[in-house]
């Protein structure tokens, strides 16, 4: 050991100093952020109970809100179907690109960089931008919502699938390559069987996620559950809006529970 030994006391002192420094930095950023955005933490916090009290009175669905239920359910059903379709189509496209671009199954360095670039590009364009651009060309239709979710999901799933392939399939792949198996045999006999549970797990997660994101897309493009919430909300029919939120909660938690049960069986 050429370096002088760090004593326990000075090490702990330094560690504490670094930690305090980081905490002070975070607190500073927070304070400056609050000042610039004119957010008063105390007032803001105090307004939460008031907001909930207001919600409890105005958003609480009443007997008469039940009449909105069929309409809400229809739109919600549409939204769930659209989320599933967008994720499934995205998954098919993404697995293809992920195989081309992952470090272990990729054809060459150029493809790996290209696929990573494409994935990053699709993922990082704001969903709002996708929705608005598509709305301009495809008008107010479910197809617009579907495309916006699809493009966004492709970016996410390519990255996720590439990571799965790199983490889980490398070793089995090498073994099959060593037996003299061809590229496609290796893909279908080693890579796909090995990663399928993780693929499905991600697909289920994206479906839940897209049901939530579909709300945003719907508000912007006038489709699905987001559209109907926006209508109730803007026409001050808060009890119906509350009913919509309640229905979303039930469906999302239902999907989450179902996904978890499926995951338990397949993993």
């Amino acid at each position: 050991m050429k370096q002088p030994k760090v004593t326990a006391a000075s090490y702990l002192g330094k560690k504490r100093l670094v930690q305090s420094g980081v905490l002070a930095l975070i607190a500073g950023i927070y304070a400056i952020g609050c000042y610039i955005l004119q957010f008063d933490t105390i007032q803001g916090t105090l307004s939460i109970p008031k907001a909930f009290a207001w919600l409890a009175i105005n958003f609480m669905p009443t007997q008469s809100s039940m009449s909105y239920l069929p309409q809400i359910m229809e739109k919600l059903f549409d939204t769930v179907l659209m989320s599933i379709a967008s994720v499934v189509v995205a998954a098919v496209i993404a697995i293809f690109f992920a195989i081309l671009g992952s470090k272990v199954t990729g054809i060459n360095k150029f493809m790996q960089v290209l696929v990573r670039g494409i994935a990053s590009f699709f993922r990082n364009i704001p969903l709002v931008a996708w929705a608005m651009i598509l709305l301009f060309s495809f008008k107010q239709s479910n197809f617009t919502g579907f495309l916006a979710l699809l493009l966004m999901t492709i970016g996410f799933l390519i990255r996720a699938f590439m990571e799965i392939i790199e983490d889980e399939a490398g070793e089995a792949m090498m073994a099959l390559k060593a037996t003299g198996a061809s590229y496609f045999q290796v893909i279908f006999q080693a890579v796909i069987p090995q990663i399928i549970p993780s693929l499905i797990s991600w697909i289920l997660y994206m479906i839940e996620n897209n049901v939530r994101d579909a709300t945003l897309v719907g508000i912007l493009t006038g489709t699905g559950i987001g559209f109907i919430f926006d209508i109730y909300y803007k026409s001050f029919r808060f009890d119906a809006a509350g009913m919509t939120v309640l229905s979303i909660i039930v469906v999302v938690i239902g999907l989450e529970t179902l996904s978890n049960q499926i995951r338990k069986v397949i993993l």
């Binding site: 907001a51 179907l81 990082n124 364009i125 931008a129 579907f146 912007l220």
Partner: protein
């Protein structure tokens, strides 16, 4: 067990007499394979049904795609700062970034405390179950709805945006952190428990240092999400920031050159956030 079977005939002489009629099965159907098949088939059927029944409002697809290509061309190949100019857009971008950072800090601080209370290996089951159920409900409501709900309850503006974004942020990080806490080796906690440490001493001396890497990693993932949400909330709830600019230029003034400019600005920020996240993860994994 192996050596005493050495005399049996092997590779070169496969025994063809073995039940020649019956085909040899390669696998038996397990619950897992059955479930995978069932899920795959149902998803494909649902997708097929949805796509064939999709309402396209009679938009002519060929024309629409042509129009889309033109829009892309304007956006990505001819971006410019448009009527607002660079500085206005930069300021708006700054607001969105700050919204993302503030709500992440709020999410991290509250999320950590809730996570400690909700973790099965630290506290009693009732508290944990209660908090987990509450957080599941909070997470189930889309961020944009939280923001809209608060904008009527406390009035339109940054306060509504921050509160709305924070709800989701706290709920998400509570779940992520508590999963990290529950993965801690119980021996680490027991070692401090037997010395008679108080609850919060254990948390800050054993739990906190052990999970710092995953804590940092999850927090930065959430920062990326919060920034994206800040953009979305700005657009759909009129809460300001770059999202609002994006909404106005793409939905009201249809200046797609500027839309492209804004999109590039947003992509640069997300790439920087991603870069920081990757570097931090490497830093902590390297230790």
């Amino acid at each position: 067990m192996i050596s005493n079977e050495g005399t049996k005939p092997i590779v070169s002489k496969p025994s063809f007499q073995k039940d020649p009629q019956q085909k040899i099965k390669l696998h038996k159907t397990t619950a897992s394979t059955w479930m995978i098949q069932a899920v795959t088939i149902s998803l494909i059927l649902i997708t097929f049904y949805t796509l064939t029944h999709l309402n396209t409002e009679n938009v002519k697809m060929a024309d629409a795609f042509k129009g889309l290509m033109m829009t892309f061309n304007q956006m990505f190949l001819q971006p410019n700062a448009g009527a607002d100019g660079f500085w206005v857009l930069l300021e708006a971008l700054g607001v969105s970034v700050l919204l993302g950072i503030l709500t992440t800090i709020i999410g991290a601080v509250l999320g950590f405390f809730f996570a400690v209370i909700a973790s099965r290996n630290l506290t009693n089951a009732y508290w944990g179950a209660g908090i987990r159920a509450l957080m599941a409900v909070v997470r189930a409501i889309p961020t944009i709805l939280w923001a809209l709900i608060f904008s009527i309850a406390v009035g339109l503006g940054p306060t509504a945006a921050i509160l709305g974004l924070s709800f989701h942020s706290v709920a998400y990080l509570t779940k992520a952190y508590s999963e990290s806490i529950e993965e801690i080796d119980p021996a680490i906690i027991d070692a401090l428990k037997v010395t008679g440490c108080k609850f919060w001493t254990i948390v800050f001396q054993a739990v906190w240092p052990t999970i710092i890497p995953s804590l940092v990693s999850w927090t930065f993932i959430r920062l990326e999400i919060n920034f994206a949400n800040a953009v979305a909330v700005g657009a759909a709830a009129g809460a300001g920031g770059i999202g609002y600019q994006l909404f106005v230029t793409s939905g009201l003034s249809f200046d797609f050159h500027e839309v492209g400019y804004i999109v590039y600005m947003v992509i640069i920020v997300t790439l920087i956030l991603e870069f920081i996240a990757v570097k931090l993860r490497q830093h902590y994994l390297g230790k």
